[in-house]
Amino acid sequence: MATEVSFPDRAAKVADAEQEFAAEKMSLSMGPSHPSTHGVLRLQMELDGEVLTKCDPVIGYLHRGDEKIAENMTYNQFVPYTDRLDYLAPLANNMAYAIAVERLAGLEVPARCQAIRVLTAEMARVSAHLMGLGAFGLDVGAWSVLVHSLNQREHLYKLFEELTGARFTTSYTRIGGVTRDVPEGWLGRVIGFCDQFEPALEETLSLLTRNKIFLDRTVDVGVITKADAIAYGLTGPNLRGSGASLDLRKDKPYSGYEQYEFDVPVGSKGDCYDRYLCRGEEMRQSVRIIRQVIAKFPGGDWYAKDARKIFAPPKDKILTSMEELINNFMIVTEGPQMPAGEVYFEAENPKGALGFYIVSKGGGVPWRLKIRSPSFCNLSILPKVCAGTMISDVVTLLGSLDFVMGECDR
């Protein structure tokens, strides 16, 4: 053993060195303009090396005051604003909003209108999940998935354009119906899309499902327990990925969902991989629903004909009949007339349960319209899940939560 050399100021030097190299926490701001934050989310993070000790999401960069705007316009005028909530699935938002207002009015729409809405909502779900899948793949370094999914989305957009006149912001529903009936031959083209989509989806998913790099990056990463998911109000694939079998289409069927057979995929662990698997399976189930809707597509009216104070009459009638002209003028200027009361309706959207809480004092303008957005609730769990994870896993987690800031910030 070497003789110990004594330095008089050794203790002081050790103390100095410890202070100098003490693990200093670094604060890092990720976003609002960052490719993996999928929009304008900012994460204010506190890092100990590569490990997150704290994560505070800063939202509101896309806040447009949709709820304030809703209080200042008629029910029908607000439909285009619902497109811009979850702008990846405007048709599903349109439907959720229309049903909420119809529940307020106590109005039942005909079977054909319900079928059209279910059909378009499921197509929107496929389109939204494709985008979520592609962006998730991109986040973890799988570029080709995005290319495949954008290709399929293009087919869907062509169908949307033919039906609604718009590719992206469709504004397709009206209170009490939809803007127009399905064009001739369109249903056949939707079947054609499904026929080519099913093998293409399997091919796209096969790029990830057994991909070693993808598995390494997602399995056991960003685990959300079932109890946490429920306590934070998560909904949609994020909740089901955590093992809770909750799907409003099954549990509280609306718009005739009870007629269709489909399975609700449920994860077991609640990690990023489970959420990915849930979304993949949901697309298969959506195609299943689309085929069933078309197989028993009902005839009849595509809007509520008896709701004369709510749904504007057809254009040819307006131009030829005095009564119809007056009726149209009243609906356009005063809005569809609603009784006083309050209603809350949630629909199972691609991102989760999109809810509309409407307080009416009567008349054509809501007194208060609250939008319960699934992305907002899904993001609120971030501080809990991020604490203690590696910074590279945050990107994976964000991709797997699949949120849309337009809906989160409203």
């Binding site: 429920i230 005063e334 609730c377 609120s380």
Partner: protein, 209 residues
């Protein structure tokens, strides 16, 4: 639906001050402010309403009493029933208060921050009551009825940028709008859509506040 009806009657037996609230869909109750925490706890633990869908508020306009109502939407993941619980806010118009339920559902955190941001409702016992959609230091609560749709001119959130650029957050240029009738109007002459604020247009400047 019967699950929520049973839950409501059990709740009313336990809390005699709970009363039925008019609703067009799910069962709804009015609860005094002081009992809201206990009622929601009973609904969560005894009746199985374990998922808090939404927390929000309603502004009944200046002069109304109570002016603000906090509204909670609960959902049961087992019976798939839903219930709405409403509580009037205590306190004056400037700082209405209602007890926070973050201790029951951590997910209420952001919802209550949003209601605070938009209405200025103080959720007592909230661990971190900051603005969430608007920036820190924003002086107004935009969803209050007296706040104009166009917005109010304010300073930029970043003081350094504000000093450098001399820019301000300006009110939206919405000349002549919005073209809507007032809620609940029945007189047709009054109900005719017109610009709510006719004091300014493309030709005349907006009078400063």
């Amino acid at each position: 639906m019967s699950a929520s009806v049973d839950a409501i009657s059990a709740l009313k037996a336990k809390f005699p001050q709970v009363t039925d609230r008019a609703s067009r869909d799910c069962p709804a109750v009015d609860v005094p402010t002081s009992e809201i925490f206990a009622v929601l706890k009973a609904l969560r633990d005894d009746a199985g309403f374990d998922l808090l869908s939404d927390v929000t508020a309603i502004d009944w306009a200046e002069g109304a009493s109570p002016r603000f109502t906090a509204v909670y939407h609960l959902y049961s993941t087992t019976s798939h029933a839903a219930v709405r619980v409403a509580a009037p806010c205590a306190g004056d118009d400037a700082a209405p208060t209602v007890p926070s339920v973050v201790a029951l559902w951590p997910g209420a955190n952001w919802h209550e921050r949003e209601a605070f941001d938009m209405f200025g409702i103080k959720f007592t016992g909230h661990p971190d009551l900051r603005r969430i959609l608007m920036w820190d230091g924003y002086p107004y609560h935009p969803l209050r009825k007296e706040f104009p749709l166009a917005g109010i001119e304010t300073v930029l959130p970043d003081a350094e940028v504000a000093e450098e650029t001399k820019a301000k957050v300006i009110a939206a240029p919405m000349m002549g709008g919005p073209f809507v009738t007032s809620s609940g109007e029945i007189n047709l002459t009054e109900a005719e859509p017109r610009a709510k604020d006719e004091s300014w247009s493309e030709r005349t400047e907006k009078p400063s506040a």
